[in-house]
């Protein structure tokens, strides 16, 4: 059986400087897999590669046996990978529910003609999507805000909205870039609980996060990057006691209080 997600010698350079260099790792299905490393280590770049926003300079990415290199982000979304962003990419011109409805886009087939003519199948499809979006909003505790303008939402709720929206694509793998950044303690706890619950429903989560308490509490496995390169991999306990990691990252101290 093919591995869930696997990269092989993945490299991305910007003007000759490697942001990701010869990175090989594998992630198992149904886990919370965290990628940690100091600022500039290449974590966001890795996400951009996995989600098709950047094209690798060299190396391979395989997701459930399928080669991802060269696919565009919307194709990757159709294969079952979705993500949230370090700076939320909310559609601020839309309501909370509408944001989530865009997440349902890939489950629909209504095209320009059917939509413009308001054909019955377009109407029933819209109704189904609405239910799906509401479910995901409810999962993230946002259903009571469905009709709010998204630009009126506080930061913590924006982060959850981005999660609800990504869930609406029904991903098999969800990439989350610093979901707890900018959240207060209780919001961070909620977000952690949400991610764990999500994993229980069968969505695999790849997490980039600076809050070490959160990472150690909810991750099954961790990958440590340093200057774009593989530094270590293992369970939270193994990583916490790995001298290389302590020297490169944990030892430098103050990253964990975000």
């Amino acid at each position: 059986m093919a591995l869930f997600l696997e990269t092989n010698n993945l490299t991305k350079t910007f003007g000759g400087v490697a942001a990701i260099f010869k990175l090989s790792f594998a992630m198992g299905q149904g886990t919370v897999f965290s990628v940690i490393g100091p600022n500039g280590a290449g974590k966001t770049t890795l996400f951009n590669l996995l989600s098709g926003i950047y094209r690798p300079s060299s190396g391979q990415i395989h997701f459930r046996g399928q080669d991802l290199v060269g696919l565009s982000p919307h194709e990757i979304s159709h294969i079952g990978i979705s993500r949230t962003f370090q700076t939320p990419q909310i559609f601020f011109n839309m309501s909370v529910l509408e944001n989530c409805l865009v997440g349902c886009h890939r489950h629909g087939v209504t095209g320009f003609v059917a939509a413009a003519l308001h054909l019955p199948r377009a109407v029933s499809e819209a109704k189904r999507m609405r239910e799906m979006a509401m479910e995901n909003l409810a999962f993230c505790g946002l259903d009571h805000l469905a009709d709010r303008d998204s630009d009126a939402l506080p930061y913590g709720e924006l982060k959850r909205l981005e999660l609800a929206r990504a869930l609406s694509t029904q991903p098999r793998l969800l990439l989350m870039d610093e979901p707890a950044a900018g959240l207060n303690d209780s919001e961070t706890k909620e977000m952690g609980a949400l991610i764990s619950r999500l994993c229980e429903t069968g969505v695999s989560v790849m997490l980039v996060e600076h809050n070490m308490a959160l990472v150690m509490a909810i991750s099954h496995r961790l990958l440590v990057l340093n200057h774009g390169e593989y530094l270590a991999e293992g369970s939270p306990e193994q990583i916490q006691s790995n001298p290389k990691v302590i020297e490169a990252y944990l030892g430098s101290g103050d990253e964990s209080d975000g």
């Binding site: 989600s51 919307h74 990419q89 559609f91 886009h105 890939r106 320009f112 939509a115 694509t169």
Partner: protein, 323 residues
Amino acid sequence: MRRYGGFLVLVALVVLAPIVFPGNYFVTVVGVTIAFNALIAVGLNLLMGYTGQISLGHAAFFGIGAYSSGLLTTLMGWNAWLALLAGLLAAWLVAEMIARPILRLKGHYLAMATLGFGIIINILMVQPTHITGGPDGLADIPTLTLFGWAIDSDIRWYGVATGVMLLGVWLALNLINSRIGLALRAVHGSEVGAQMMGVDIERIKVRVFVVSALFAALAGSLFAHQQGFISPDSFSFHFSIELVVMVVLGGMASTYGAVFGAAVLTLLPETLVVFEEYEVLILGAIMMGIMIFLPQGLWVSLSQKVKQIIASNRSTTNPSAIS
């Protein structure tokens, strides 16, 4: 059915106007021009207001429709309806061809590219004088006939033009309230965000560009038959700008706003005839003023005001409704 309430109001306005003001110049003559402009503006609004892609060259598609109809009916003796279809097809092909490379551009580059495209098409109307009649234009375009019924009076044209405009508004409203409309607005909100939600942004931008081009070309064909005469001046850079102003006046991302913007901008020079030489100056002042003081557009700002007033009335008459 709340969202079609506005549409019914618009239909009522359009139907009642010629009944309340029979034979009024502003209704049956200016009204036709308003309807054509509104049709183009509603289409352009799908592209600009909702999808966030500026076009400074949409007069070109208006012109492609008009010249297709004009040339095919006068020079080749085609049936007017066939010529209209050919005009739509021509606009479709041109839009499809340029949309992909053009819509890969953003911001100033997109503005410049669409502007250049519009100017090139306009020059193609002026230069081949032996075909298009050059700057003097093309005359003697026959009027349309609908089921053996010649559309040859102001009021008949009013019926056709506003009917087509209402159809355009209805299609646009449906589109915007659909899966496709959500995706278009998502592209405006965040392109990467939309992509990650599975929206093929390149494709959907091309599609909406084509749709807006078809709206403009349809208006162009009808315009050519209604006027009986067309010249390149009607399809210049200046008209492209006026179209943008209509959308902006309407507040971008509001279909009724686009209709409103078209009405205001079409009526303005008509009501300012006394100050004819001030027309250009006033257009410029409006553009600056709106963007500086009412960046939401006149329509959206006005309707927000109205909503506020209604809301405050309600809360004073019915104290329990405070939420």
